[in-house]
Amino acid sequence: MKINREEIVHVANLAMLDLNEESTDTFAVQIDNILQYIDMLNSVDTEGVVPTSHAISLTNVFREDKVKEHVDRNKALANAPEKEDGNFVVPKVI
């Protein structure tokens, strides 16, 4: 077994997800299956192989640090589930 029920709960927590009992059980089996399949990567010799993070290697793209046309405050808030006085509202943090 690659992953157990407790680890699923822990990882879900890291990802800000709550799982109910039933989906925790299902996910534990399904994800364990997938991780076992992924294990086949260990049979590949990758000694000294440079990892690829992007298929097309581009060097850093720079631009001048100049103010350009930007999003209007009201527009930026257009999709906010809750807003007040031009700000996003969140539940109490502290």
Partner: protein
């Protein structure tokens, strides 16, 4: 003939000669959607009113002599490409009411070219899936057999094009999401080279793999639409500053001197359907008859592609989808008074199972202690897969293979067996890992009457070669002329 049955280039000729108006054409497409949508289920949002307004603007432009190959052409857009003032849901509950305040780069280009946007089409939630069954909004049916899946994740795009509910569509492809549904619905689909088309305004799934591309009724339309959306964009630092050729100039007959590689590993893959193999073999014979030369090539790391992909794509997804937190846009659980509780509750009720599963796999693979074993290892295997292609392309110009191991399967057939669903992407996801272009063209039908696609893959930024081979094959066959009976 009904106007909605036209291809983009046919409609363009009629618009240019003023034999039809964009208003008539758009009206015809909207009527068609009205009559078949209840059975096909391709559209999430229909934009009939604005489409007709855009059509009238197009007619005005045409009357003034301003016409591009897309002026007045009704298109359907996959619902993860941002369209200003037009709801963009990603087929997710978490974005069910999201209305973008800007257009994606490709949409800006289409609008500038005078295209008409009919609406937004269905997909697997956040593009995660191969059947469009993971849409949280609705179910899409394959127009060739309504009991079958249309493929995915761009299933709405492929079904809409096949059922004449738009003249062409834009989809996105992270592991086969354009090519696989195109194959299952008997239309043409192209995933361009990574970096050829800007991803600005494409809702991110796996940023190093995602690419926008066209789904069309024939290869000529594919070239037309690719012309319109390709090119460098300062808003996407991974889009490549390279000249874009006029792809329509490669729609010419003759394959003499073209070298075509057949990956030997692809014939040995388990689960390859006999009818698919037969259709692809017949396609090879046809293409050989057109003057192309064939060579056998080897892609020795093929069997590891699915495993590498299902580490890399979920890892990138887990990071990209962290932005859905109920603060700036989208769903929010307003009953929670604690910030953490609000995040969790919003995300847990807003995401569907497949999305949650992939976020968990990705988070696990990136978590402390597992990063080297999973993400780094998969990224190294990705390098080996890319090198396989580079080596193969030393002896050939393009590669031919099936798109999918089987024709479209029944709705509900594979929802329980995730690995079987993932494994059905084996022929397509290597192209995303390597960043090369890939295309699906219709090459036959199963005994059940379901379409089968032929995949053509090429070198980086060599889309024109794919178009040339696909065009020659298409002109020598008539699979693209068959239409589903609805």
């Amino acid at each position: 003939m009904n106007f909605y049955e036209l291809t983009i280039h046919e409609a363009h000729n009629l618009l240019k000669s003023r034999e039809i108006s964009s208003r008539e054409l758009t009206k015809s497409v909207l009527d068609r959607v009205g009559s078949v949508e209840p059975r096909v289920g391709a559209y999430i949002t229909l934009a009939g009113k604005t489409a007709l307004a855009q059509a009238e603007l197009a007619d005005k432009a045409i009357a003034e002599g301003n016409i591009t190959p897309l002026t007045g052409i009704p298109l359907g857009i996959k619902d993860l490409i941002c369209t200003k003032d037009l709801r963009t849901t990603c087929a997710s509950k978490i974005l069910e009411n999201f209305v973008p305040i800007y257009d994606a780069f490709v949409i800006k280009k289409l609008k500038k070219a005078g295209a008409v946007i009919v609406g937004k089409v269905n997909m697997d939630e956040f593009a995660m899936g191969s059947s469009t069954e993971h849409s949280s909004i609705k179910l899409t049916h394959n127009p060739w057999d309504l009991s079958c899946i249309p493929g995915g994740s761009s299933g709405g795009s492929a079904a809409a094009v096949a059922a004449d509910m738009c003249l062409g569509s834009l989809g996105s492809d992270t592991g086969g999401s354009i090519r696989q549904p195109a194959s299952h619905c008997g239309v043409v689909g192209m995933k361009p080279t990574y970096g050829r088309v800007s991803r600005f305004g494409l809702v991110a799934f796996a940023s190093s793999l995602d690419q926008i591309g066209p789904l069309t009724k024939d290869v000529t339309d594919c070239a037309v639409l690719l012309n319109a959306i390709s090119g460098h964009d300062k808003g996407d630092s991974t889009s490549v500053p390279m000249d874009v050729p006029d792809y329509t100039t490669f729609l010419e007959k003759g394959l003499k001197g073209v070298k075509i590689g057949i990956p030997k590993e692809y014939n040995e893959l388990p689960g390859l359907d006999a009818e698919v193999l037969e259709a692809v073999k017949n396609a090879i014979i046809t293409i050989e008859g057109l003057g192309a030369e064939f060579v056998e090539v080897s892609l020795p790391h093929t069997e590891y592609a699915v495993a590498a992909y299902y580490v890399i794509a979920p890892s990138e997804a887990s990071s990209n989808l962290a932005r859905y937190d109920g603060v700036k846009y989208g769903l929010r659980d307003k009953d929670k008074n604690d910030l953490m509780e609000m995040y969790k509750s919003t995300r847990s009720s807003g995401f569907g199972s497949e999305v949650k599963r992939r976020i968990i796999i990705g988070t696990y693979c990136l978590s402390a202690g597992y990063y080297d074993a999973y993400y780094k290892k998969a990224s190294q295997v990705r390098t080996l897969i890319t090198e396989d292609f580079k080596r193969a392309f030393k002896s050939c110009d393009v590669l031919l293979s099936p798109v999918t191991p089987t024709p479209a399967f029944k709705i509900g057939e594979r929802t329980e067996d995730l690995l079987a669903m993932y494994l059905s992407d084996i022929f397509t996801l290597s192209a995303n890992l390597a960043g090369i272009p890939g295309m699906s063209v219709p090459c036959g039908f199963s005994s059940q009457g379901l379409p089968i696609g032929l995949q053509i893959m090429g070198k980086h930024f060599n889309e024109e070669q794919l178009i040339k081979v696909a065009y020659n094959f298409e002109q020598a066959t008539d699979f693209h002329k068959k239409k589903p009976v609805l």
